[in-house]
Amino acid sequence: MKNKIFVFSISLVIGLSIMIQVNNDAKNYTFANVHTVSKISNQLESYNEDIKDLKNLIEVKRNKLYEYKENIKNDKDVIQLLKKEIKGTRIKAGFTDLRGEGILIRMNDNPTDTGNNINFDIVHDVDVSVIVNDLINAGAEGISINGSRVISTSEIVCVGPLISVNGEGIAAPFVIKAIGNKETLSAAINAPNTYGYKIKNYYGIEVTTLESEYILIPKYSYDVNINTAKPISEEGE
């Protein structure tokens, strides 16, 4: 009998202390959806980045405004200025030939007969897209595939045995050129665990790279069709 009472009271005490402990902690905590918290954090990070960039942009534009005020006296000046702006913007948009150090990559289908599903042996649009993406991540300032300049509006899609880039069908082997720091670009394709490394070593896709002091990348030379997008610049729009 005494034993039973003893065990009962001990259990009661233990139960009570657990309850008090949890209760105390619960007061200070609130359940927030994991998703919401990370969404807010990411939004914060994104906005803080923007603020940094905006402050930079404001300074750049203020300087430009000062330059305008000092130098524009008549229409000839405006025209000259606009032409200069256009030239600079075309370079950023990819409408000029570029030269500089960089890398040359040659990708081709697996030449051996592996007996696997043929899809594992050939170069797909995804492969080219990811390689281009990795090059950009490694600081590529200009990229071309088989002589066709790749810009943000360029598609890279499989069309049967060809890959369509800028509306033209191109076939393997694919020669990708990129200008940037040649070692960094090379590492982006050759270092272990990169996509380039994986398709080469696990799928047998031919991937050879060549670093060079002098790479020439042609300008984007196709039609520019901006029919739907309008710049938001005028008040009231």
């Binding site: 657990i18 902690d25 200070n28 609130t30 927030a32 994991v34 918290v37 807010i40 990411n42 914060l44 994104s46 906005y47 803080n48 980045e49 923007d50 603020i51 905006l54 930079n56 942009l57 404001i58 750049v60 534009k61 430009k64 405004l65 229409d75 405006v78 025209i79 606009l82 256009i86 913007t89 950023k92 948009a93 990819g94 000029t96 570029l98 030269r99 500089g100 150090e101 649009d125 897209s129 990811v130 993406n133 950009i136 991540n137 600081g139 300032e141 200009g142 943000s152 509006t153 360029s154 598609e155 899609v157 940037g180 020439l216 901006i226 739907t228 997008a229 309008k230 710049p231 938001i232």
Partner: protein
């Protein structure tokens, strides 16, 4: 007698294990945050949002003044107008100006938690190449401007997995991903809904995909500076 000692020891051990486990869960749980922290975060977000809005307004003021110089009225009016149009065209291609127009908005989220538990590769972070393919297809359909979670897609935009996030233009994001594209909305839609295409494939894998056609979409500019450190333009002889 021995029974009692034995029981006591077991109880003590159990108690210790329980207490330890409780502490470990408490410290590792990312799901419980202090009430104070939650409201602090929300407050901070509002502050930062306001600062960003104000800076954007300030920038727009300066740009308005700049435009007044660039669009000055005169007898040379047409030529200057054409030059301005050309400048805007290239600014849109470069991604350095805000744009507006009809198009589509895609929202992509991971399949259910169960599907991810069954196979960890059922995750857009792991399968980020799907996003690249979607963008490529939108381009094939004539998209004129694209953004992902507000980040303008430019010649210099990367999409890379970093831990459990995707980095786009250097900013990290978690799903869902909202892709906006400005272009002919019918054409964009047909390419997206193409049977056997990327979206179709993703839907079969139970990714949650929402497609909305809109008459007016606003896509913000790419805000980072674009400076070439290795490339030099080759001057065209005009």
């Amino acid at each position: 007698m021995y029974k009692k000692i034995f029981l006591t020891i077991i109880s003590i051990i159990l108690g210790l294990i329980f207490a330890l486990q409780y502490q470990v869960v408490k410290s590792e749980s990312g799901e419980i945050i202090t009430t104070k922290k939650a409201s602090e975060l929300a407050y901070e977000l509002r502050q930062v949002e306001n600062e960003r809005e104000n800076l954007i307004l300030e920038l727009e003021e300066i740009e308005k003044e700049l435009r007044e110089y660039e669009q000055s009225v005169s007898i040379e009016n047409d030529y200057i107008k054409n030059l301005n149009e050309e400048l805007n065209k290239y600014k849109i291609m470069a991604g350095i100006i805000d744009v507006e127009g009809e198009g589509v908005v895609l929202t992509i989220d991971n399949p259910s938690a169960q599907a991810q538990f069954d196979d960890y590769t059922n995750n857009i972070i792991y399968k980020y190449e799907y996003l690249l393919l979607i963008i490529s297809n939108l381009n094939a359909a004539g998209a004129e401007a694209i953004s992902i979670n507000g980040q303008r897609f430019t010649n210099y935009t990367e999409i890379v997995p970093v831990g459990s996030h995707l980095n786009i233009n250097g900013v990290s994001f978690v799903p869902p991903f909202e892709i906006k594209a400005i272009g002919n909305k019918q054409t964009l839609q047909s390419v997206i809904n193409f049977k056997g295409g990327v979206i179709w494939e993703m839907q079969k894998l139970n990714y949650k995909i929402d497609i909305e056609l809109k008459d007016s979409i606003k896509i913000e500019r790419y805000m980072k500076p674009i400076d070439f450190k290795y490339a030099e333009e080759i001057n065209e002889d005009e």
